[in-house]
């Protein structure tokens, strides 16, 4: 698999089907995409599509495999505290490029039940990596948080990062997620970490300390 699954153009029919499906699923949601639409987008006939994937479930499983690889790559990349900005934008690029997995979770795991346990394993891995990154940042003096605060932070960040799309939909009727929405989601998640940044951590991220000294 090449360096960047999400943006490369692939030559194999199977690869082109998966690229097309990721695009269509992001745009319309997996439930509203027909095999005819997939075949048309790829420029093949439905028989050929059927040769590669018998059911939508199999497409979702194959796409999840790619998402999994991308997430593992991003999650493992936070070991250098100096490159935390890149690390964060990696998470949000992931969220944008695979937004149907974040947005349509409930539905997807009904269509492809085998993904439930894979999501579990992937989430364990992701949270472990975030914990390692935060512990590293704490050792490096970039954040100051107790182990308990780090655990609460990991869970809250996970919840906000997972559900902000559903929040925008149910609270504000946002049907189509744009890049601006993703930036908004990123800021919401980052705001969780901000109170724990030390002056050195702020300097490292290029944030000016706006907050005045404590009142009391």
């Amino acid at each position: 698999m090449s360096e960047n699954t999400a943006t490369r153009t692939r030559q194999s029919t199977r690869g082109r089907i998966l690229d097309a499906c990721r695009g269509l699923f992001n745009e319309r949601g997996p439930a509203d995409v027909t095999t005819a639409q997939i075949a048309t987008t790829v420029g093949i006939n439905e028989g050929n599509l059927y040769y590669h994937f018998k059911r939508k479930e199999q497409i979702l499983e194959a796409l999840f495999g790619e998402f999994e690889q991308e997430l593992r790559k991003v999650a493992a990349g936070g070991s250098d505290p100096e490159r935390y900005g890149d690390y964060l934008s990696g998470w949000f690029r992931l969220m944008w490029e695979w937004r149907f997995f974040y947005r349509d979770g409930g539905l997807i795991y009904r269509l492809a039940p085998s993904l439930r346990s894979r999501l579990q394993i992937l989430s364990d891995y992701g949270q472990d990596q975030v914990r390692r990154v935060l512990e590293g940042q704490s050792r490096a003096g970039f954040i100051q948080a107790t182990p308990e605060e780090i655990e609460q932070l990991i869970v809250n960040a996970w919840i906000v990062a997972t559900y902000w799309i559903d929040y925008l939909r149910s609270r504000h009727g946002v049907a189509q997620i744009t890049r601006e929405h993703v930036n908004w989601g990123a800021l919401q998640v980052m705001s969780l970490f901000r109170p724990y940044l030390t002056p050195a951590g702020m300097a490292m991220l290029g944030i000016k300390p706006e907050r005045s000294a404590p009142l009391l």
Copy 2:
């Protein structure tokens, strides 16, 4: 309507149906409760149930009306900064006593579509009230946060308070929410506010300042 909808025992058949449904829905979810089970729990026959409510949708709408009243009562109660502990526990009592609304959101709004816009209005009201409380706490010197931080805090708290149940289910396979889970959810939400508390705010809430002085 009496002072405490959630715990009173009501005399009218209609009231007893609603109490029974709230209990059954909390326990099993609205989709998995049959009219026969409702009738048995109330001790009436199904014809009598049908006389009061023709469809499950109507039961959900009536229960939402009670939830609405309770939420408005809790949300309006945070004007006294000294009683913030009571205010918080009010929100979490609400969450426990009406947990099916938090847990089964997607399903409920499919069963009773009219509740979508009512939820919108109720959420607007709730968030406005939380904003007023935080602004009051800020003026009183109990928290220190910029207006932008307050907005981000309100949204993050709303997301965590809405989705922590789904998080426990999808991440940890928790099918049945207990009081311990609600306490855990409450701590997750409270941890969002904690970094913004001033020493006076901590003293007011009876929290010992555990965090040592900034490293740098």
